[in-house]
Structures are given as C-alpha cells and as structure tokens.
Amino acid sequence: MKRDCPGKGREALFCRAVDLGYGTEYDAHREQVRSFLRAHWPPPEANGDAPGAEPVRRFRRAGTDAGYLYRNIPRRYGGSDQAPDILAAQIIREEFAAVRAPMELTGQGPQMLAPTLLECGSDWQKDLFVRQAIEGEHTWCQGYSEPGAGSDLASLRTTGELRDGEWVINGQKIWTSHWRTAQYMFALVRTEPEAPKHAGISYLLLEMDQPGVEVRPLKQITGESEFAEVFFDDARTPADWIVGERGEGWTVSRSLLRHERNMIGGADRSGALFRSLLRLARKARIDGRPAIEDRQVREALADIYGYVETQRCSSYVQLTRELQGRDPGTLPMLNKISDTNIVQQVSKLAHRLLGAESALAPRGQPTGRTSGSEKWTNQFMGSLGLAIAGGTSNIQRNIIAERGLGLPRDAAADRDSAP
C-alpha cells in the first residue's frame, strides 16, 4: 500500500502508517463501477418505479459480466471469476450501496451451498447446482440442527441408509429457514452409525417436494414463522447426491470459502442501527422535551456509540491485517458477540425511549392504527434471536476462551463417540 513517507532524517525512520483511503490505484476502479451503475441502475424501463424481478435479474447478469458480482465463482458456473481483491470488493459494495443497487442474491443457495460445492462437490454437482443457486433458479434450505443437536450439532441423529441406489432418510430437522420457497435441502445426516461422532456424518442433497418430507412451520416469539421443522419419513435422494465421501459431511459443512470476506458489514449494520436509534431519541419525549436533550439519554447514547465506533475501527484493523497477511489475533472471533452486544444495548435503550408503547404489539391493533415505532418492538425481539442464531453467544465465548485465549478445552466437548 502506498504510504506517505517523507524521506529525510528521523521522519524517514518513523514514517506515518495510517491511511484510511484505498490508494489512488483504486480510483480508476471506483470510477468504472460508478460508470457501470450510471448506465445500468436503475434499469431504464423502471421509469421511477421499483424494478421488477426480470430487470433485476438482467442487472445482476450485467454486473457479473462486468466482474462486480460473484467474483469468486468460475465463469462456467455463472460467476465472474475475479482474482481475490478485498479492496476492490469493498469499493463495489460501497458504490452499489450508494445507489441502492442490488448485490448478489442472498440465501442458503448462493451463500452456503454454492461455495461448499465449489470446494468439495463433484463436477456434475457443480454443473447442475451452482449456476442455478446463484441465479435463484433453485432455492435451497439447510438441514443441520435437530431438536437434540443444537450447539452440539455433531450429535445429530437423523439417519441416511443406502438402499437400492438411494439414500433413505429418517429423522427430524429444526430451525430450517426459507422453508416456504425451498425446492432443495442440503442436510447433515448420520450414515455411518458405527463410526465416531463426527466421522459418521454425510452431507446429502435432497428434493423437498416428495412424500417422505413434511414441513411444519414454527411460530416464533414475534408471531412470525421464519423457521420450520422438517420431518423425514423414508425420504429419498439418489446415491450420488452426496457431497464429499461418506463420513466426510462434518468437514464438508465447515469448508466455506473465506474469499473476499466482508469485514466491514457488521460495523456498517451497527452504524445504521445506531443512526435509527438517534432518530428515535429525537422523536421520543421526556417531560415534554425531545428525549435526546435529556442528560442521561445523551450519556447512554454516547456509551453505545463507543461500542459502535470500536467495531468500525476494529474492522479497519482486520481489513488491514487481511490485506497484509498478518495475524488478526482474536479480533475476527469477537465480531459476532460484539455485534450482538450492540444490538442488545440498542434494544434496551429503545425500549426505555418508547415507554408504554413498547407494551403494544407491533401490528394488528384493533383500530389498525400504529405509532410508527412498532419496528422497535420487532428489534427488541429480534435482538434476542441474534444471540442464539448462527452459534449462540455462549458457544462464541467458548471459542474465544479456548482458541483465542488458549484456555484448556472442555473435555465433554472433545468426546468423540457416536451418540
């Protein structure tokens, strides 16, 4: 990276290190991205309306052809096959966000299945599934957790048995999101009952629309149903719909590519959430005055701001270390719990600011009238989910303590025996 390093006397010895820009060599790249966006977004046929599905699909295609989307996916599978460049990717994210242009599709197919297949799948699996997943032709859900296998995922009990050229699957999965639309599932299934705990699991792909699969939505604390339970009763999938070898499923499920990892994303989201908290504090009132004028509210806001800024600066450090190939230390393993802590602090202060309104349900008031603050009730509930989803905060603490601080590993968690 370019550094400002005047070359005389002691200044040359102690040249200035910090540079929060991306360097002039990236100016041209940024200008190309802007010029692409001026030409393609919003799509001309939209005429000021929200673009429909087809124009968005064409925009993503054009963005991929230009090398801005699906950068780590080979061209033959529908990606743009770009050399890894964290700063180039960051600039693309910034410029797309500035004009609210859609980035890559989100969801289990593009974000989990496609990278896993690229790393561990066979050629025919990549040909059949990767392009369809990233273009949204196929939608996928994940079958990992089970009622008895949450944090201790490797104790899962759903079985897969090879019979007459097919896997026959029996058991139950839970916390399956995207269940409404998913046509396919990638699942961890115990196929080697005699093998040790982690070595008995295989990574199978299956179709959801078949007699042996039953989906039952779970009603969650907000009243919505983002998740479902999935029951398998002799569900079937072809023998070669296995990714990796038999018994390699645990490793396959952990092989996600760490390609151009977005290290700023969490900090950006926390910053945006904090700005909406500031808007709430301006709107809410204490003793007839805007709450934001209250001394304790200002101190509480600034306290949270300290954490938000900490995450932003920590993301710069992590980005720099990734660019320079330096050890980031414990920082990456602290991100999830730090983000969760911020979201929870925001929800506590928002709750205080809302006062009695926070006792009202976010929707469905008999009069049909809402205060406009109902999204904060969902945030209050959602902040609880964040501490659980994707690895609970307590599991994160174990990881930090054992891998980050080098404390002795928990003997119980090391036990590697079949359940």
Partner: protein, 361 residues
Amino acid sequence: MNFDLSDEQRLLEDTLDKFLATECPMTRVRELFDGEADCDAAVWSGLGAIGVLGLHLPEDLGGAGLELLDLSVVAEALGRHATPGPFLEHVLAAMAIDRAGSSSQRERWLPGLATGELRASFAIAEQGDSGEHWRPEQWQLADAGTITGEKRFVPHARGADLLVVGLRGGGFGLVEAGAPGLAIERLAGLDRTRRLDCVTFEGTPCEPLPRGADVADQVLDAGLVLLAADAYGGAMACVDASVAYAKTREQFGVKIGSFQALKHQLADMAVEIHPTRGLVWYAAHAFDHLPEGARAAAANAKAHLTERFVDIARRAVEAHGGIGYTWECDVQFWLKRSLFDWAMLGDANLHRRRTADLLGW
C-alpha cells in the same frame, strides 16, 4: 487502506517493552508503589534516552517531529507495565509550550523537556461546586502578572522544574519551580504509580503562553487520547494476567481455566477490550489528520476506554479469587491506575456528554 502500526512503531513498542521489563519489572513497580520516591530516576532518564519524551516535539528543538499516534504507543506501553512516574503531564506541558509559546519560550524549555533533563507538570483542575473544573472555559485562576489560587489533581508537581497552568480565558501560563508563593502539597492518591499534588499560588509570577487560548482544547484532546491509550495497555494487562492465572491455578484437581464459568468471564473481558485498540489509534490519527472528527473521537476514546479499564480491572480482581483482593497481587496497580485514567481530565460521563455535543446530537 492501512490501519495498523507501522514497522517503526512496532519497533518502538518492542524497544519500550524490553526496556520496561528490564528496568522496571513488576517487583520494581511494587517497590516504588510502596515507597516514597515519585519515580525511578533511571527509568525517567532511560525514557529520555530512547527519545520518547520528545516524540511529538519539533526536530530543531530536540524532538522527533512525530505524531500523537507515536506518543500513544508509549502511553500504552507505560499502561501495560504500570510504570510509576511522570509522563502524561510532562508531554502535555511540552505540547502546550510548543504550540502556544513564543519562540524564546520554546527555545528555552523544549530541548530540556524533550530529553527529560527538565521535567514539567500540567496544572489545570480547579475545585467547582459539583466536582472538578477541567475544561478551559471553566478555569478561573486569573493572571494579573502574578497568580493567586489553587490547582488540584496535578500529577507529579513535586520536583517538577516547570508548571504549565490553566488560566481564566482558557489560556496557559508558565510557573517555574521555586517561584515566590508557590506551595505544593501531596494528595493521598489511590494510584501510587502517578502521584497527585495540590498546588497553591500566592502572588506567584506567571508568564503567559501567547497562543494558549487557541490551543488549550487541542492539548486537552491529546491528553484524552493518551489516557485512552494508557487504559488500553492497562486493561490488556489485566486480561493477560487473569488468563495466565487461570492456566496455572488448580482447584478440584484441574486448572481453573477449564471451568466454563471462568472461561466465559475471561472471554467477555476479551470482547470488551481487544477490539478497542483501533478506537485509540483512530482518535490519535484524527488528532493529526482529520480535524473535523478529531475532538469527538478523542472524547469518545477517553470515555469508552477508561470506563472499560475500570470495569476490566474489577473483573480481573474477581478472576484472581482471594489473592486478587490482596496488596500482594499486581492487579491492584492497574485497578488503581484505572481510577486515575477515568478521573483525570474529566470523567467518562463528562466526555460522553461532550461526544454527544460535538456530534451535534
């Protein structure tokens, strides 16, 4: 994008760590803490010899012409090693003379301050109706050729060759050691690694720094960042000491660090403090390069880091069990330093309110 220490700053950090581990190990910290001497003369002259006391001063007056980020590397190291003796008030006093002094004032004082042959302190706090008055707009001590009044919480005033004193109107004046009417009384400070004095003036001659009122906010901002850096160093030392203890101490036949309850406490300490180093660096960088955001960044870093330090030091005592509650345990040094960092130049709540004001909330 480069947001990390330079190789040269890492070298400086490494040099200081080796110097302090050799010249002022924890056994020596304890001797100084329990004794009456303010500091170890060899440590002070060693810091001067390494060149860290004038890092921020101009090269033609004996300094290194560097920036606040370099100085905060030093503050962090002193915090990590709980090094007793002057630093913060000395570099702030020198910065005030450099930025606000006349050329003759700068030439007279800065070369000696840069090497540590001369030592200065920084006297600003006055007693107010509800707590200390730290901010320039609150200073009441009036300069009418001489000054009469009191400054409190002055670090290491005893033995200093020179005091930089905050004056009514938000400027600074110089008072030399031995000046008529100058009296220094030691306060019973908790943090015996940084002694506090109460200074009184009675018709004491005072020489104003011509541009004092223009730079007082800047000098105080630098102090906030250095306190935040010290707090980071101290809090990291608390976490490291607690983790090391958890790996050695055995109960029920196993290392206590294998118990999940303690693991989670230690992990939470890491979550609170490991990511904050960038916040200090950002505030230090902003001080020299991002003037529009620098003031809020300094206030935010001071409030956040010193509050975390107090909290982490308390948790470190608990993580050490019974031994943590004894005078023998080194954690007490950082616990007491955390209270100094939190209070000095205004407490965390003051700087949270200032952050809110400066950001226009």
